[in-house]
């Protein structure tokens, strides 16, 4: 299987280690991975602003770039959902190239759980971690059951984290409340966004967590910004970094 590594723009520029960890993890699991040069962004910032004309060429460029792979793996639920759930309006209904890319794009944990069916990982992470479920991973990709929904679903992120030795997951109070990032929402509604984020941080701190872990680095970029400003004693790490056993001060 030849996997195309889809690295979100902000990870490429600000959190390269998350992409390196993703690559290393997939390679350790015996997957052939290529990072197609020239990739930039899936177009979500424009799409979420409602600028569909500006999104369309970016979406078409993305599909063309990734069409030759058996699977496309991304360390972000939000960006994966953009391709899977929101690209259709930019392509013809019978566009088979698009259909291939849409149906073979996976968020990292989803890929490990559903496609590779990983049942063991040789990694140790001796810390108390609390999990932040990203909204798009949760409610758009259905990586777990949302607290509103009464439909039982497997928690894929948790399943994968449970494979890590000596890792203790500590529970938080509001298991899947939004952190308030929301892309451009974070600056459009800066005050509400910060209030939402600070409440999330407090919840994770009260849980006794040492590391706040998420499958979406964009949520963590926002939360880390608040944590640093408040000088809160809490680390943030992407799940990929945990899965390759990075030290907790990686970001």
């Amino acid at each position: 299987m030849h996997v195309g590594l889809f690295v979100p723009c902000y990870i490429d520029q600000f959190y390269p280690d998350v992409a390196i960890a993703t690559l290393e993890l997939l390679e350790r699991l015996g997957v052939t991975v290529t990072y197609p040069a020239g990739q930039t962004c899936c177009g979500q910032p424009m799409a979420n602003t409602g600028c569909n004309d500006e999104t369309a060429p970016v979406a078409r460029r993305f599909v063309e770039m990734f069409s030759g792979f058996d699977a496309i793996v991304c360390p972000s639920g939000s960006c994966t959902s953009m391709v899977r759930n929101h690209y259709s309006e930019y392509f013809d209904e019978d566009d088979s190239t698009f259909a291939h890319v849409r149906d073979h794009s996976y968020e990292l944990c989803e890929f490990l759980h559903d496609v590779l069916k990983v049942e063991s990982l040789d990694v140790r992470f001796p810390y108390r971690v609390s999990v932040h479920q990203s909204c798009h991973g949760l409610r758009e990709l259905r990586l777990a059951s949302s607290s509103e929904s009464m439909e039982p679903r497997v928690d894929k992120v948790r399943k994968i984290l449970d494979l890590v030795r000596d890792l203790e997951v500590v529970p938080i109070t509001r298991v899947d409340e939004c952190c308030g990032f929301g892309g451009t929402f974070a600056v459009n509604e800066a005050d509400v966004s910060a209030a939402m984020g600070l409440d999330r941080v407090a919840d994770h701190v009260h849980s006794g967590s040492q590391v706040l872990v998420s499958a979406d680095m964009s949520c963590l970029m926002h939360l880390q910004g608040l944590i640093r400003r408040q000088k809160t004693p809490l680390e943030v790490m992407h799940v990929a970094q945990v899965l390759v056993g990075r030290p907790i001060h990686s970001n």
Binding site: D12, T40, N52
Partner: protein, 481 residues
Amino acid sequence: MSISLPIIDHPTAARDFVADDERTHWHDAALWFVRSKRDKQAASVPEWEYLRSLASGIKSHTIANLAEYLVMFERNATALGAKVHWAASAEEHNQIVLNILRHHDTRRIIKSKSMLTEECGLNHILEHAGIDVVDTDLGERIVQLRGETPSHIVLPAIHIRKEEVGDTFYRHLGTEKGASDPKYLTEAARGHLRGKFLAGEVGITGVNFLIAETGGFVVCTNEGNADLGASLPRVHIACTGIEKMIPRFEDLAVFTRLLARSATGQPITSYTSHFHGPRDSDSELHIVLVDNGRAKIRESREFRDSLHCIRCGACMNTCPVYRRSGGHSYNATVPGPIGSVLSPQRDDSKYASLPYACSLCGSCTDVCPVKIPLHHQLLALRGELVNRRRIALSKRWSMKAASFLFRHPWLFSTAGKTGRVALRWLPHWMTHNSMNKWTIARELPQPPKQSFRDWYDANRRSPTQSATTNQHSRSTSESSS
């Protein structure tokens, strides 16, 4: 719309509410408590998700055949002795109600909760005509005495603390100064309202469900105020949006099982009152069916589902933005996610900021008992607003610039590198100031020396592979720009 509200964008209106940290947390906790009660109730119904699908299906069918069901309802309601009125707009609705009241020479009316009359601005019109209007729902009465509007469709006074209620009642009802015991205050309101009920000449109620097959309708309350308001006076006027229709009596059970559980986390409202025609030959029952923009929403394939709404308010209770910004920050009759879908369809310039008052978390969509894809509709509305040029030019141009950047990888890479270098070398105050909204409450990420693409080129890509892929990326960017 009869109520004219100033155009205030949501972020500005929200700022004042959020600034009071203690109040925001209190408001958030009060609503989260309701949401948690809802979760427990929903979990107690094994077929919860099936009920949601059923309710959504019934509503889709009804909205698709709305004209037919409206006519059926009118026929059956008329046969029961009710008088059915049709109002195309808020103004027509208000005029119809006013005409009925004038016909009966009414000076005092008692009113139970109706978001439709709030939407139409009825109270204001009636008061202007010299009629004494008393809202009999406790929350609405508190809001009315304070000269405010409801901040929530089910919990109108959720933004007001019990101490503030005590102060309002001290001034208007003569309760003890400084009283804040909810039981004492509720007793006082009860005594006060009892007199108003007895003096009321006409009762106005809202409607939760119109039943086409029977010509009857159902009103759900917890305080019994609608029953008293409809039973004491000789004339009952029920005001309703046309989307409140359901086809058959047996469909009602699906909705009553969902409504109170979703709204307040109760298995059912204390009172579920059925009205089938006037109560006797000496009484009158008027039903005012109001369009006021609903038929237009029905025409839209994208937003038609928003007419499924049964006004439970669950999307407000769950919305992390609503809980922290308060209902008044929306400046609309219906706040929260559903209000942000409905309001811009009425007036896209006044309410242009509402679809953006959302982090697209999708909690509203999952909580909605009639499965309105709320966050997808909010996203779709943003596209409409951009097409109609209702968003700031600066926002539009920044997205055009971003799109250009993302189509030219070398430019993206260069811009990224420049930005990271600048962030590393510039003094903190130059990157973290009021010009950069990200940094009002947050630090920017610490910029790494190397982007992933640079790391990959240095560590993984062979020189030949690099040349081919770069060529590929160039041709890709040219073909799509």
